[in-house]
């Protein structure tokens, strides 16, 4: 290589170096920019259990892993947002004795990855304390101004969260409970952070089976303005969150409800395109469903049925399933419909294939 070649190579290297530096600085500036933040989205993806399912070709899919990939992809495409992704994995050991970390945390701001680290979630199984600490450390302080409010979303992906007890929820740590009470405590913990400043989450998604019940919504409505959940089975292909990519620049009060309806409809259509079982997605407006939930007769009837279903105290904590609340004697269909947007499709086969309506509420009980 001659002298000219040497200088040419040096020139090219220096150009590429400056280009890299420029990109890096740009990225850094984007990561640090916080005054533009309009959305904070927390994904909690539970993977400590059996989350295997198969598509129509028979290929294996791990529901939690697929959802983490989707969450990352959503986060990368969201400007003006902070996205926190927590993935709870099963307990594993290296060489039989050395425990591996069972939690993975990703933090994106303005579409850029700011932090990704593994952590031990074991001590935090009760109220997601460690996850809340990650949030506290990373979430930016953004002052809410008239006409500009940061929207906070919490998305939970996993199996049905039991209303009480919760032992056995985490397959690797069956002795450590996780129930709706624990989730409510966790949400309270997140909300107490100075970044959220005691206000409610705008939206809580429970992408789980059987959590669209009067009991669950009563316990969670102090912490979220809108709650989306399924009162029936929910296939592991889950309530899709891809529609978050279409978050508008601003979501004022009325628009939030409209946007969440579109989110639910999009998820419903996706489920409908790849599942043949029953699909029921309910969007509950916490303020409007209050009256219905305060119906004393219904609460007593639910309580009695719950005791009847779960039997003795030694019975495992996992629920015995749900049925449409319209079967309950004290259930008023008109009252129940207030404050709910329902997306329902009967199964293609089975005893409910001709059941064309659903109340949007699940009550304790089994199908037979």
């Amino acid at each position: 290589m001659g002298r000219t070649g040497f200088y040419l190579m040096l020139f090219l290297i220096s150009i590429s170096f400056f280009q890299c530096r420029n990109v890096s600085r740009q990225d850094e500036a984007v990561r640090l920019q916080t005054d533009n933040i309009k959305y904070r989205i927390v994904y909690y993806i539970h993977g400590d259990g059996s989350y295997l399912y198969h598509d129509s070709q028979g290929s294996d899919i791990q529901a939690d892993v697929r959802m983490v990939k989707q969450a990352i992809s959503v986060a990368e495409g969201l400007p003006n947002s902070e996205v926190f992704i927590f993935h709870q994995k099963p307990k594993r050991h290296f060489l039989f004795f050395f425990p591996l970390k069972d939690g993975e945390f990703y933090f994106f701001r303005n579409g850029q990855l700011v932090d990704n680290e593994s952590y031990n979630s074991n001590p935090s199984l009760h109220n997601l304390d460690i996850e809340a600490a990650f949030f506290r450390e990373n979430a930016a302080y953004v002052q809410n101004l008239p006409g500009r409010t940061v929207r906070n979303f919490f998305l939970y992906y996993g199996h049905e969260i039991p209303e009480t007890d919760g032992r056995g929820y985490n397959a690797s740590y069956p002795e450590k409970p996780f129930s709706i009470d624990n989730l409510a405590n966790a949400m309270q913990l997140f909300e107490s952070m100075p970044q959220i400043g005691g206000s409610k989450f705008d939206f809580l998604l429970l992408s789980t089976c059987y959590n669209g019940t009067p009991g669950v919504i009563s316990k969670l409505m102090p912490y979220a303005s809108y709650i989306m959940a399924s009162p029936e089975y929910l296939h592991l292909s889950y309530i899709d969150s891809d529609y978050l990519r279409k978050l508008p620049e601003d979501l004022m009060n009325g628009n939030l409800h409209l946007y969440l309806k579109q989110f639910a409809e999009n998820a419903f259509l996706k489920l409908k395109s790849n599942t043949l079982t029953m699909i029921t997605i309910s969007l509950y407006d916490a303020d409007k469903v209050k009256d219905f939930l305060n119906n004393g007769f219904l609460r007593t009837e639910i309580q009695n049925r719950q005791e009847e279903e779960t039997g003795s105290a030694s019975r495992d904590s996992v629920s015995a399933g749900c049925v449409d609340c319209s079967r309950m004697a004290s259930f008023d269909l008109k009252d129940a419909a207030k404050g709910i947007d329902l997306y329902y499709s009967p199964p293609h086969f089975g005893r409910y294939k001709n059941k064309l309506t659903h109340s949007g509420w699940g009550c304790p009980g089994s199908e037979r």
């Binding site: 400590d48 099963p90 290296f94 043949l276 086969f349």
Partner: protein
């Protein structure tokens, strides 16, 4: 000559030892994973394999036979376990619920007990429905690992 043979022999021993070590390491990395989740996955794989077989079968009669055999074998195994001594009451309740769910599917496939018989051109979809319904069946979660293992042995290993 002897030297070359010895070298080759030693190489093979080393190769076998390396493979063995790799196997142990790969197993050891995942040691401690939840047994109940692994066993539940076995059932999901079982129903998935039935759905795959149904789709591969050439005629509706073959498809029906695959589905009917799998339902019968599954319920036979469940009946056997339910009648065993020492099975916890909670497990028996969940097993009965599973059995009823599989019986419903058998009845629907064959048009029994008030069900409309699944049409021939719907058999592939029906096998997918069965797979999806069993994948999300909450009863799996309530059954103890020991009982689940018994079902695996009876259904998946012995009656295949």
């Amino acid at each position: 000559m002897i030297y070359i043979i010895k070298e080759e022999y030693m190489f093979r021993i080393r190769l076998v030892l390396a493979l063995l070590l790799a196997f142990i390491l790969s197993q050891a990395t995942f040691a401690g994973s939840s047994e109940s989740a692994k066993v539940q996955n076995k059932f999901k794989e079982y129903f998935n394999s039935i759905s795959v077989k149904v789709k591969e079968a050439a005629t509706p009669a073959e498809k029906r036979e695959i589905l009917n055999n799998s339902f019968e074998k599954f319920n036979k195994a469940l009946t056997k376990i339910i009648s065993m001594k020492g099975i916890p009451a909670g497990d028996i309740k969940a097993l009965n619920s599973l059995k009823a769910s599989v019986t419903d599917k058998y009845n629907e496939l064959n048009g029994l007990h008030g069900y409309t018989k699944v049409q021939d051109n719907q058999l592939n979809n029906f096998s997918d429905y069965v797979k999806q319904d069993m994948e999300q069946a909450d009863q799996w979660v309530t059954i103890s690992v020991t009982t689940l293992l018994l079902i695996v042995i009876l259904v998946i290993l012995l009656v295949r």
